[in-house]
Symmetry: C2
Subunit: 359 residues, 2 copies
């Protein structure tokens, strides 16, 4: 894997050297990362980057700085790959922030500059950030009847007590050795994960439970995608009944505008929204636990309701309408009002048995 | 452990029943949790709760609601303990939010009410929240030559790949089976933890590495305290050079006003601040990577500088003065400018060898 990324970075370097030897203006062609070049692929039901590209060349006052930054970050990435080390975006920023000899000019002054260079390199090389050994955030825990190999260790996710395995920011080199599960439940809240883990839901229902805290990190999304595509496991998403929870589901399933250029490695078109839904709230009499909408909730709900993939979906529009009529949201933990293990003993088994989810 | 907490809750219940049988006004005596009753114990160098108490009684219009809430949350806790289940504060809120029969009055309407009841119960029973089976947040990862037993599993912290063990919110029932380490490095940033873990610093330096993301959770603080007091390991704290990083250290070492009533179970008087310090910035030529102070940084720095335990400490006042003169802060990752593994290969070994820390 590392070898492939090094080769791609090498190819970029060789191309630039060739330009110089041929006395051409050194240049690189980069797919355009902008809203105007993001499309919703109706076939795959995923946000993707379109066909537009632009050329960045060295002898161009408007391009020279970004050109240098891209080459510098490429060199940093190659160095990381050759030394088999990984860095965070923040590390890469500090490594790139060197002063050009005999000037007072830094290669980068703001992290946004090195971040952009990393994204450009993803587009140019077709290797994504994690393959370039540049890590995203570390967050989340996992448990289940699964054995993985990672960094030389064999790790059994079913034997990690009340803590679980802490999910690394980068799972590119993780190998699944055994996956004995019928599906995956991903939840946005660590407290809900602790509930399901204490109740040994992953054992009783034979599934994998994964949590983050809020939005799923890239490491978690990639892990879910591998379990979905390579191990054919259904992915069920468990969030609050509010626009933010539904957005978490939306990003997992359809991708996001920011990361449209790597949708094929992150999005999970088969993911299902398990709950909690407006119908759960009625069925389990949870209206008492409503949290009233604020202005920001209304506007976020309208935004999400108008997404390409939701706007013609009757089931989702019905949910949005109920939320809007109620002017209220509800948390997944409201289920605790029915008993601390109601979620484990009744809610989840029933939902899954009845295939009671939104698509 | 659970048995002890149940007994204490039982004692509270029996006391109230006795009051009723003797036709007295049922009442409970609670230590006062207020700034006026928080003292800095100069001997132990820890924030503690003072001797003031107050009496809450049932037949008192101003007390009746809180009285009921405390009893209700006590009953929920006893139920959790008897069923060997744990709940989050949010769960407890939803469980307590029931409507009193034949009225429209809920036992609690806001989470703050059940949270306060939990704190009152901590004070009344002398059992802290985790012992009452009410969990705090789950966050953080750990690695090292340590074996623990938790929830029936034996977990080796040296064999968990690039992820490490995910630290549970509640470590009351965790048992250390083997602790082979000379000290503990706690850091505020998960990205720094990933750096040290990839470089196998815990193996090379024979230490334990623990991270959260920002403030340490109660689970992490308790774990550090056990390693400090029961295993006599020095605890070294690694944060950014800014008021927020120093505050993280301050809370770990001296405790906090909010949690002064359980300082003896959380604070770590022997903790040392490893870095990064103003001297590190000079020594390793990191001024180039300064981040300019904003107004909020100045006021936070003044606040921290005036804490009882810092205001007469010359070493710390010197640090604060340098930060203030520079009008700037610096991040731990600025060390990456010296090389991606500079922190692992040079910075940490030198600092620890030279005992170059602040107390």
């Amino acid at each position: 894997m590392a070898g492939e990324a090094v080769k791609k970075l090498d190819n970029l370097g060789k191309k630039l050297v060739k330009d110089i030897e041929e006395e051409k203006n050194p240049s690189m062609t980069i797919p355009l990362r902008a809203l105007s070049n993001v499309v919703f692929d109706r076939q795959d039901r995923t946000l993707r980057i379109g066909d537009k590209t632009f050329v960045r060349s060295f002898f161009n006052v408007a391009h020279a700085r970004k050109f240098l930054q891209t080459v510098e970050v490429g060199a940093i990435s190659k160095d990381l790959l050759n030394n088999n080390k990984h860095a965070s975006l923040r590390d890469v920023f500090y490594m790139a922030k060197r002063t050009i000899p005999n000037t007072k000019i830094n290669v980068v002054d703001e992290q946004q500059e090195s971040d952009n260079a990393v994204e450009d390199l993803e587009m140019i090389t077709g290797s994504w950030r994690e393959q370039l050994h540049i890590n995203a955030n570390k967050l989340g825990a996992v448990a289940g009847n699964v054995v993985v190999e990672d960094a030389g260790d064999t790790i059994d996710w079913s034997k990690l007590g009340s803590g679980g395995w802490s999910i690394p920011s980068n799972i590119e080199e993780l190998k699944f050795k055994k996956v004995d599960a019928k599906y995956v439940i991903y939840m946005e809240k660590a407290a809900v994960w602790e509930r399901l883990n204490e109740d040994k839901v992953w054992k009783k229902l034979n599934c994998i439970i994964i949590s983050s805290q809020g939005q799923a990190t890239r490491g978690i999304r990639r892990m879910l995608q591998i379990l979905s595509t390579q191990y054919k496991l259904p992915i069920y998403v468990l969030t609050d009944f509010d626009p933010w929870g539904i957005y978490i589901y939306s990003v997992l399933k359809f991708g996001s505008i920011n990361l449209a250029h790597i949708s094929d490695r992150l999005s999970i078109p088969n993911a299902k929204f398990l709950g909690i839904t407006a119908d759960d709230i009625e069925k389990y009499d949870l209206k008492k636990h409503f949290i009233n909408f604020k202005d920001v909730d209304f506007s976020r709900l309208d935004q999400i309701g108008s997404y390409d993939w939701f706007k013609n979906n009757k089931d989702w529009q019905r949910q949005f309408k109920m939320m809007k009529d109620w002017k209220a949201k509800a948390e997944i933990q409201a289920l605790s009002a029915r008993g601390i293990s109601f979620i484990s003993d009744k809610y989840l088994p029933d939902k899954i048995k009845n295939e009671d989810w939104l698509d």
